[in-house]
Subunit: 401 residues, 4 copies
């Protein structure tokens, strides 16, 4: 069986050949000038993707989970209070991490499928008259439910409450795929990784850190060494790393940034939105329902889709993999068995998306789902025809579609 | 725009990552023992793909066209008579090559869309009472029309005529994708290349040569040096090459053979047949017509499809490329403007084929073709569901499909 | 200028093409069966390299520093006492890490160039009558000084003292290059990484963990999430990962193990010893001195070499890089300016080593070092001639050399 | 054993990682616009390397031998007379090719080790009062003997004779490594390949063709199809190929040209000259003798070196390969057993050359050659020190060296 089928998991994404080649790189001396000359601009260029001019970018050779840990341990002390809402598997895990690191975690429980509850944050912050809450932690794109939260609204809630807490945002599965405005939204730490919008191999956490977070670093007492911002920044200042850097990923990131900037970040976001919308058209045509509780919450990088009552989503994804060799995201946590996910981020085209829709459709039909075979593909085809960027022809037939 | 969309040209094919890696190889000394130990088994293993035990395999660093030239120049002399039928662009080009090399070419003109005319060959050979025809040249798979000829029938015609002519077969776009029985069909030279069923980069002609053809080599006087079988065989006998060998392609071919044998040649053929049949189901659903003049002629590696009267197939393929970034084969020669081609050979899955069908369908709809959007995809989906090898589930819905 | 010169830094090492290709791998679904089937045997095969049958192998997407942190945070609690000797930059850094994580660190200061002081450990452990020391931390191969310590002697000292402390060993720059006997030496945690003896890209910490250490894990209260053994082991038990795994490195590790086992671990060790000995012959011929304070301490993976009084080793390594494009290790910590290092580990041959010796020799001559140009190369040539594995010829000249 | 040692065969050369990556390329449609946009500039940029403004560049998917055949068959007719001198294996083979293609070959026999005999050419051309000689064929760099001929002198001889014959030059192992002035020297066809100075995989013949040769094409009657200039030029004019192009090599050539132009052609030539001179210094220090009969004939891409009387060069090269894993060129033809060759072209540095010298020196010492171990390396070291481009330091010691 070929391994050339695209994956439709919500990250790691399909890696463009150009980036595979960029990472196909022999060892170079990371203390030599050419590394220094490469690394500093890469860090700097990442700022554009985070949307920050005043912040700093810090990377670690780890996954995004390591990025969460770095955010927390560099700015907080044991017993510090943080405010966080649980509305999916990844917000759940961040809560767990905070608890394991001895923080006092105030959890707002939300229905999975909801986004960050700006109004409840506002209420909670207003109630915190002694300003003991040191940070509000928000998952921008809840990969488990396919929900994108409104970070600007969270910022507004914090401002309304006049609360000085820091704002930490998990943007692992949104950065470089959906607009992110770190400075505009007043984000203090934004946590991302190499394997999603940057289309690279897994292995690098990429963080945007505000000056306010850097100030907090000075008094934070949670223990950290590997993830210590101070060591990393001191080494980075001279173009170096406090330990052995992940050379191939750094050169890969350089090329990834080139690809993103060549396409144009706005075009990248528009492409993701278009592909996501095509998937949503298919979901509607199937008569199925997104996990996202309202249309404006629907993520442009992953769609979580409820299977009909009486069906098991794990059986569906297993079947699609075993019979057709295509991977989709399984339902996580509460969604396990109830929903499957189609990842549509990174290096992806409408053509590739159609193969993902066609395949899951076959799998659903095989399992007697009450859907019409071909209906989702056709709905996506119609949408993609109307919206193709390269579109050179505009005929009545198309307008009507 | 991503370059990750599959190509649907009838070769060069999509190259599996495994073979790209195998060809990603630093220079080694081609006079050193490890080359010798690699090359000899590769040549030998190719025999299984040709279906020959008594023949010999000879390769050249060239395209398939070079393979044709090698076949002709190594076995024939200026003025020798050859018999060949024209029923597509590639048989046409082989005729042209023979004429340019000073052969006396007896051409049987056939409608494009027909296969090799065994009965006309028989007639012509019977008429050649002085046995001046030295070779019958047949294109096994006419890439221009998507027609596979019956080589066994040609052999039977030659036997019926009791004619001693050699039988040369162009199997460039069929070998390693469709069954080939060199010994069983009495083929004297079979010409193929690296970039089709072998799924490699272009650059190597691969020939199966019978003992009878090798005997003819001794008296043939057409000039040749680069393509001289004698030099190549003498060098090959010691594991070497008469000039610098295409190392990367040779190591790639070794890996390609491993892939083919791991999957099993019969499974490879079955996979090609299944994917081709899926395409044909789509064509039928669109209400379009194959160039192949009868169903049993339809090729399993490429489908040539007439566009409806009044449409221009070049506009269609251009549009598909420009708007959706997917390449299909254009109509060649007589078919230009009248037909487009979908290549379905090499490293390909049902999932990839569906993306190719969905895309050309969008393009046709854009251009107001009288087809129903989604109809071809659905027909292929139904067929692929019923016939998937990994199929673990057999439900009423599937049986009904 | 070509970037094809080997590096002579003591890791990351030169990466064999075979491993670069193994890491040149498209995304696959890490929740799919083929990942599970790949990953479990990789972990298991690593045990052979650690020399453990009773222990367990745990990996993290991080550098070796992350491995240190994982060892400490998974088994110890704030305020726990650890015993550790400082005799180079890497033991120094591990001390620092322990201190930053709130441990009570009893440091034995040793001259740089010495190895682990087994007798002093014994004394200290005997003095710890209340057995408050929870762990003894030892750097097997001190990359900064080119010193290999005798871990067996440390174990003996611990046994002599009848002390139940755990034994943690940093074998980042020794594992898979020099013999390691985790079970025989009673090592509780051995910390290594992907980029040294495994010849891969940086990005994976690889730990061998004893049952005793796993038991300690249950009561340890240092906070950890990313590096938590429990999450990792629970996920690994099902063939999975608690977060996104570094897929390319895992497949690379699989191939690395194949290479190591094909060559044979004993042959790998012998090769490293031979190459190191060649370097040491050159150092002697130059009239220079190793940092290792006695010959039996000399490392087989890196040689740290004092420059003569009045010379600056940083100028030397800069010059070698700028003029000849070759990287050597700089002197670290106390050794900065006083010593340079030649890494000779990983994918390396005698031929490559000779180019490293010839180049640093040119650089020293350029800077008027009191050495004879060519002398080091000749000494190494003589040694390599006598000891080449493939040696087919044994002449008087060679015996005399 | 590692396969990372450089090769010292005179081509194919070591391939830079950058070019391996450039050739690591998925199939694209060769009829699509992006191929057209890539290919035309590549052909054009090659002109700079040939040193022609008025000529045309034509490529074939073949080895250099195919390039010879293309030169001859496109411009000559059976029975045409050509003048050619035999002074090595490659001139010998070109003679053989001409004879097999039915040309009337006037051979001037020269001692191997000599270059092209301009004066004898002049004499022969003057004697050809009926101007029956259609072409003079010269091997610029005789790879077998390490001799570079003076093409300008040949041109002058032809001019002195007032003879209108065409001038064909084999520059397979010189182009892109040593200066070549096609227009200045009045070369009509220059034949090269991808695997030498262009540092690519084998598989592409690259020809520079003058307008005069193109005119001869119109009347030449030697049969050719695969190698037909006319078909190729007609297709190239539209950015296409008359058959399937070797896509990976074409994109590789594009990148190779970028590398050559970035370094600067003059710097490329100077680098080759410097590396060659280093090798020659070593040869002199060993007390051995080049095959080149005078110093100004010594090639900058390959040195052919006589072994002392009583020694067998094949034993030497076998020994070097078997014991040390390094490949050198064997003696070809008359030189077999008497000489070995060190290739020093393509992607090579002084550092790499030193490893090649050190290794063959060890091999010679193993076999009791009367050389001083280390002497060649030291001589080359001294030369390389004095001449390094990046040299930042100029000390008395260096000036004295």
């Amino acid at each position: 069986m070929s391994n050339q089928n695209p994956v439709f998991i919500p990250g790691p994404t399909n890696i463009p050949d150009r980036l595979l080649n960029a990472m196909h790189m022999q060892t170079r001396d990371h203390r030599a000038p050419d590394f220094v000359e490469t690394f500093a601009p890469v860090l700097n260029d990442c700022k554009r993707v985070f949307g920050t001019e005043t912040g700093q970018v810090i990377t670690f050779p780890s996954s995004g989970t390591g990025g969460w840990e770095a955010a927390v341990t560099n700015t907080l002390s044991p017993g510090d209070k943080v405010l966080i809402a649980r509305y999916g598997m990844f917000s759940h895990r961040w809560i767990d991490l905070c608890q394991r690191h001895g923080l006092d975690v105030q959890v707002i429980e939300c229905p999975w499928g909801d986004g960050a509850p700006a109004d409840q944050f506002e209420t909670a912050l207003k109630a915190d008259t002694e300003q003991q809450i040191k940070a509000v932690l928000v998952t921008h794109n809840e990969t488990a439910t396919g929900v994108r939260s409104d970070i600007g609204a969270v910022r507004k809630a914090m401002d309304n409450a006049g609360h000085p807490a820091m704002l930490f945002v998990d943007c692992v599965s949104s950065l470089a795929s959906m607009p992110f405005d770190m400075d505009g939204w007043g984000v203090d730490i934004a946590v991302s990784g190499s394997q999603k919008g940057f289309m690279l191999a897994t292995g690098m956490a990429i963080l945007g850190v505000s000056q306010k977070a850097l100030a907090a670093m000075e008094t934070a007492t949670l223990p950290r060494t590997f993830f210590d911002f101070r060591d990393m920044m001191a080494a980075n200042a001279n173009g170096g790393f406090p330990y052995t850097p992940p050379l191939q990923l750094i050169y890969g990131l350089k090329e990834s940034l080139s690809m993103l900037f060549e396409e144009g970040l706005d075009n990248v976001y528009a492409r993701h939105h278009r592909l996501a919308e095509g998937v949503r058209q298919a979901v509607a045509a199937w008569g199925l329902r997104l996990c996202a509780n309202s249309p404006e919450l629907a993520s442009d990088t992953v769609s979580a889709i409820y299977v009909p009552e009486g069906f098991d989503s794990n059986e569906l994804t297993d079947h699609a993999f075993n019979k057709y060799g295509v991977s989709y995201g399984i339902g996580l946590g509460e969604m396990n068995g109830k929903a499957f996910r189609i990842g549509h981020l990174g290096d992806l085209t409408d053509v590739m998306v159609l193969s993902g829709l066609a395949t899951i459709e076959m799998a659903m039909a095989d399992l007697n789902y009450p859907i019409e075979l071909g209906s989702g593909v056709r709905a996506a085809q119609e949408f993609f025809r109307r919206t193709a960027a390269g579109q050179a022809i505009d005929t009545p037939a198309q307008s009507a579609a």
